[in-house]
């Protein structure tokens, strides 16, 4: 059985600039994978190479492999639209569409040209429930998503993903625009979701990484310095650079 996601010797260049240097990592089992490291070390770049969002940027060159259940996602064996349905993404700034709450959550279904209205409504409800938004929003389904407070917008973006039942959820600093209480709520939600989804989260916040992740990677200047069990990384790092970062001597 191949791993859910396996990244092998991944190099990524923005033009001449090498942002990822021979990165290796894996996502498997019911784990939340955390990615930490100082600003600009390539966390977002790595995350975005897992669902090919970097393809949208001109001048990006990629070497190495990203395997989804053993299949190279950059090969022609996997269509990019199919890939992005299977690997969803939550962004740093909540980015609900300027549509109603309902239309946001059903967006992925409309992308798939799913026509059954009854089932759509059921999926919207189920997804909002799974993102712990149903009780708050069930009377506001036809309000503009942009009128919601940020913390609800971010969970709406999560609900929007859940509606298409991805296998993996990538989160790029999903809490950085939120206050501590909203952050806690998202973290609890992640722990709840990890039963059903593989989750990879980029975070600036080391406490957050230690709270939610089971496996963790420390990146520095485009390199994956250390990748292993979160408990080990935080209590017993093998690499001197990780140790410096964890103890706060860097970044």
């Amino acid at each position: 059985m191949p791993k859910k996601i396996e990244i092998k010797n991944l190099d990524l260049f923005y033009g001449q600039f090498q942002a990822l240097k021979s990165v290796n990592m894996a996502v498997d089992g019911n784990n939340i994978v955390g990615l930490i490291g100082p600003s600009g070390c390539g966390k977002s770049t790595l995350l975005r190479s897992i669902n090919r969002m970097n393809d949208l940027i001109e001048g990006v060159k990629i070497r190495g492999q990203v395997l989804l259940e053993g299949i190279d996602i950059y090969s022609s064996k996997l269509e990019i639209y199919e890939l992005r349905k299977r690997i969803g993404m939550v962004f740093q700034r909540p980015n609900p569409f300027p549509l109603s709450v309902y239309d946001n959550v059903s967006f992925g279904l409309r992308v798939e040209k799913f026509k059954d209205k009854k089932k759509t409504a059921a999926i919207v409800e189920k997804s909002l429930k799974a993102a712990w938004l149903w009780d708050e929003l069930k009377d506001k389904l036809h309000k503009s998503a942009l009128s919601l407070p940020l913390y609800q917008q971010q969970r709406l973006c999560i609900a929007r993903l859940l509606a298409v039942e991805p296998e993996v959820i990538l989160m790029d600093e999903p809490c950085s625009a939120l206050d501590p209480i909203a952050t806690m709520k998202i973290e609890e939600l992640m722990l709840d979701l990890k039963k059903d989804y593989h989750i990879v989260i980029v975070t600036h916040n080391m406490q957050q990484a230690s709270r939610v992740s089971d496996v963790c990677g420390y990146m520095l200047l485009g390199e994956m310095v250390e990748f292993g069990r979160t408990a080990d990384i935080f209590t017993n790092p093998k690499d001197k650079r990780t140790q410096d970062y964890i103890t706060g001597r860097y970044g």
Partner: protein, 272 residues
């Protein structure tokens, strides 16, 4: 400041002058007779401008039917599928098209378009259809450049969100980008509409200017603007006032359109 003030004063004076010259006439002859009668015979004291109102509306509607789909398609193509550096030269070029004198458009309409319509579709050639096509082309720069601006103003995070859900580029455009840019696009359409309804020279040249209610797009019509321009040279007395009154009607229609455009733009600002 002083210059701005005097400019505004001048505009207000012009509007007041038109209203002062036109409004008493409307009340004298009766608003329904003026607006809804189809008889325009100034020599016989008959001043019904309904054919001209209809002419203006048909021609403007036609211009919208021609200009909006083309303009929107062009705007989407240019803002979503063309590299940024190419846009930098293409967009000013489009805006330059707005500066071509309308007599040039009219000339092309008379020399090329009208004969083609006459030959292949029948009728006099100089017609609603000819005017619609010419006006549709004339409003393209307005519709396109404002639509491009509002499509460009759609935050990239919306596009990313759609792509990340597996949407294709086309799905992203019609499900997210256009709805997000909608109020700006509508504003562009309405400004184009204002331009179409106010256009005079090109319309006089290609619309045929017959004062009667048209039965088909191939019929000739006279617009409100054409009516004023064609007759002002020799109009006196009541006739002259009737032309000013025509101007009042035109003014009201254009102000209404601008008001709608402004509201659309303002709503867009509020949503952000």
């Amino acid at each position: 400041m002083a210059i701005a003030l005097s400019a505004i004063t001048m505009l207000v004076l012009i509007v007041l002058f038109i209203i002062k010259e036109g409004l008493p006439f409307i009340f004298k002859i009766g608003i329904t007779d003026f607006l809804l009668s189809t008889d325009w015979e100034p020599a016989a004291g008959k001043y019904g401008i309904f054919p001209m109102i209809a002419g203006s509306l048909w021609v403007t509607l036609g211009a919208i039917l021609v200009g909006v789909p083309l303009g929107l398609a062009g705007a989407v193509f240019l803002s979503e599928f063309i590299p940024q550096w190419a846009m930098k030269t293409i967009k000013p070029t489009i805006e330059l098209l707005a500066g071509i004198p309308s007599v040039v458009y009219g000339f092309i309409g008379v020399m090329v378009l009208a004969p083609l319509i006459r030959e292949y579709l029948g009728g006099p050639g100089l017609s609603i259809m000819a005017a619609s096509i010419i006006l549709g082309i004339m409003i393209l720069p307005t519709v396109m450049s404002i639509s491009i601006d509002s499509i460009k103003a759609v935050p990239n995070s919306y596009r990313e969100g759609a792509f990340a859900l597996g949407a294709t580029h086309w799905q992203t455009i019609h499900m997210v980008v256009i709805p997000a840019a909608r109020s700006g696009i509508i504003a562009g359409i309405i400004l184009g509409l204002g331009r179409a309804i106010g256009e005079t020279m090109a319309v006089i040249m290609v619309a045929g200017n017959a004062v009667k209610l048209p039965n088909s797009p191939l019929d000739s019509v006279r617009t409100l603007t054409a009516n004023i321009a064609l007759e002002m040279g020799y109009a006196t007395g009541m006739h002259r006032q009737a032309l000013f009154a025509t101007g009042v009607v035109l003014l009201i229609i254009i102000m209404l359109l601008n008001y709608i455009a402004m509201t659309a733009i303002r709503d867009r600002g509020k949503k952000k």
